[in-house]
């Protein structure tokens, strides 16, 4: 796939992954105080629970990817991306999309 001028997958990963951690850190830092301010209400909120479950699944998906397909990245760094890696990517997009939608739904189930 021609992205970033045909850079090897490992190079793109090395460039981008540290910043995904920064993003996750910022969201946790801002999300935790928001949660703390109404923890009791949120605990029972079905959308909030689904969001946390999806976050967990997204984390597990990333962990599995790094423990399996990405271990052998040297073999597919430049050539065609293997189906397994594409599957991990597709699942990742779906899960993070779910996190966003579930996050928006929290307000719908919010009792005030």
């Amino acid at each position: 796939m021609a992205i970033f001028g045909q850079q090897p997958a490992s190079r793109i990963a090395a460039a981008l992954l540290p910043w995904t951690w920064v993003g996750l850190g910022l969201m946790l830092l801002s999300g935790l105080p928001l949660f703390a301010s109404e923890a009791a209400d949120l605990y029972g909120n079905i959308a909030f629970r689904i969001k946390l479950a999806l976050l967990l699944l997204a984390g597990m998906n990333a962990l599995l990817f790094h423990l399996t397909v990405f271990r052998g990245v040297a073999q597919w760094d430049i050539g065609a991306t293997p189906l397994a890696a594409r599957a991990f990517a597709g699942i990742s997009i779906l899960l993070w999309t779910g996190v966003i939608v579930a996050g928006r739904l929290i307000a719908v189930f919010h009792s005030h």
């Binding site: 992205i3 190079r11 540290p18 966003i100 928006r104 929290i106 307000a107």
Partner: protein, 180 residues
Amino acid sequence: MMFMPAVSYLPPSLALLSSDASAPSSLIASTLEWIQHTRVGTTIRESNWAIMGYESVHLLGMALLGGAATLLAIAAARRRGLGGLGVSVLARSLIPLAGLGLLIMVISGSLMAWSMPYRYYPNPAFRLKMLLLVLAVTVSCGLWQAVHKQQSDTIQRSWALLAFALWLGVGLSGRWIGFF
């Protein structure tokens, strides 16, 4: 997300009262009235789920646009770029992605605004957002031009940083709409 106040679904008569002191001219007023009563506007406004659905789609578009703009800004702000990848390399892949995000946001955003014209038209945060949006799109086109004409690295980085600042302004003023 959790603090997002519920969007106020005022009936049209009350919504009119909540607009600011500058009463819209009769042409604008009749246009707003027409928009409000179009079938699309009415359907979205009266649905329990439409606004929430469009807001979710709006957020997904934001992930694409905001993510691309942020990565370009990080690459522009650092001497080594993003892990050795500079603005010119990243922009060729990221700007089309940002464009897709913008398209998604413009469609979902237009539908939401169309359903409640009295809520959006007089809202100062909405007006500021639209102004910043025009500037952000213009500057982003400037970045696209600079990349394709292979202008100097400094010029490309400046465009990328200015674009990021403007997109940030669009996002913040958009968040602010709900407080009016």
